[in-house]
């Protein structure tokens, strides 16, 4: 089986300002596949605590729109996960 690729998948960082915003992320996770990097699961998402999650290329635009519609500040930590995966091997064989 060919290894899974992560082309153009993104990692978002959001800090929900209140429980309402935290619930927006939880609701998004019900309909879209979010891979939580920190904290490690949806149910740990809470107000005023930073959340990092990975989304597929297909979902990233709608996630971004949802965050903007709800006036949630976000940062895109990684724009293309596949590139970062390749870049992690940045030390040449001795």
């Amino acid at each position: 089986i060919a290894p899974l690729r992560f082309d153009r998948e993104k990692v978002f960082r959001v800090k929900p300002q209140d429980e309402k915003q935290a619930n927006i992320i939880k609701d998004l996770a019900k309909t879209k596949e979010l891979d939580f990097w920190y904290p490690d699961a949806t149910h740990h998402v809470t107000a005023n605590k930073m959340v990092d999650f990975r989304v597929s290329e297909n979902n990233s635009q709608s996630i971004q729109s949802a965050l903007e519609q709800n006036q949630m500040h976000y940062e895109i930590l990684i724009h293309d996960l596949q590139k970062e995966i390749e870049k992690q091997f940045d030390v040449k064989e001795a």
Binding site: D35, Y38, P39, D40, A41, H43, H44, I78, E84, Q88
Partner: protein
Amino acid sequence: IPGRHSYAKYNNWDKIVVWTEKMMNKHPEMVSRIKIGMTVEDNPLYVLQVGKQDERKKSVFMNCGIHAREWISPAFCQWFVYQATKSYGKNKIMTKLLDQMNFYVLPVFNVDGYIWSWTQNRMWRKNRSKNPNSRCIGTDLNRNFNASWNSLPNTNNPCSDTYHGTAPESERETKAVTQFIRSHLNSIKAYITFHSYSQMLLFPYGYTSELTPNHEDLAKVAKIGTDALATHYETRYIYDPMASITYPTTGSSLDWAYDLGIKHTFAFELRDKGKFGFLLPESQIKSTCKETMLAVKFIAKYILKHAS
């Protein structure tokens, strides 16, 4: 032939196995390899005993790679064994530690998951066991310990990345580790587990917001460790009980080891703070390991002096 092992690079499982043999053969008086069990996919679970081979001494149990995708963690365990053997007789603290203590180092806890993260899915976290009545594979080994297991909701879905398994210690890897620790409980004075990322040093409890009876002592050791760590490259770690600094967690190895009677248990969340997350570049392995090594040495030194 698995290829050349390097401390400055991430090594796949085949290279790590060969490396364990090499360390054992190169330092027979200092390193021995103990097979503590097998995984679901029939891979061996190896613990390296590092020290002057006296079972009666105080010891520290360290494990790396519970979560498959956290590659910096196994890299640290390999670095630790290498540096310990290399600096024996040269570095005063390390010489004293190895003369008077043993370190049990499990370089990769979740072997099957680690292999999967190298070959199929770089973002894989759990082990690779099949779940009854589900198409989803894997259990989060750090939710599978008998520490308030199943007392919080949301960990009983086999498709979840934090699925806790069918029962406490349902997984072969967990069982192997708990059996080993129980059988060496008289000597083990500290338990340290290595994760990534977010730069934190955690201690119990995770399953409750109550503080442990020796909270002050744990906080003191954590301060010593994080202060030491920062001296190399000014990398700042925060420390506190797991439930307060992160979020309530059940079934963790940290809490299990503490409740079993190991009163100094810590979890490192290594570099970085999210710029790379689980994809820390290899060029940062060395500096991350160097600073972490310092923290572990100071924690071990404290344990040697104070743990009864």
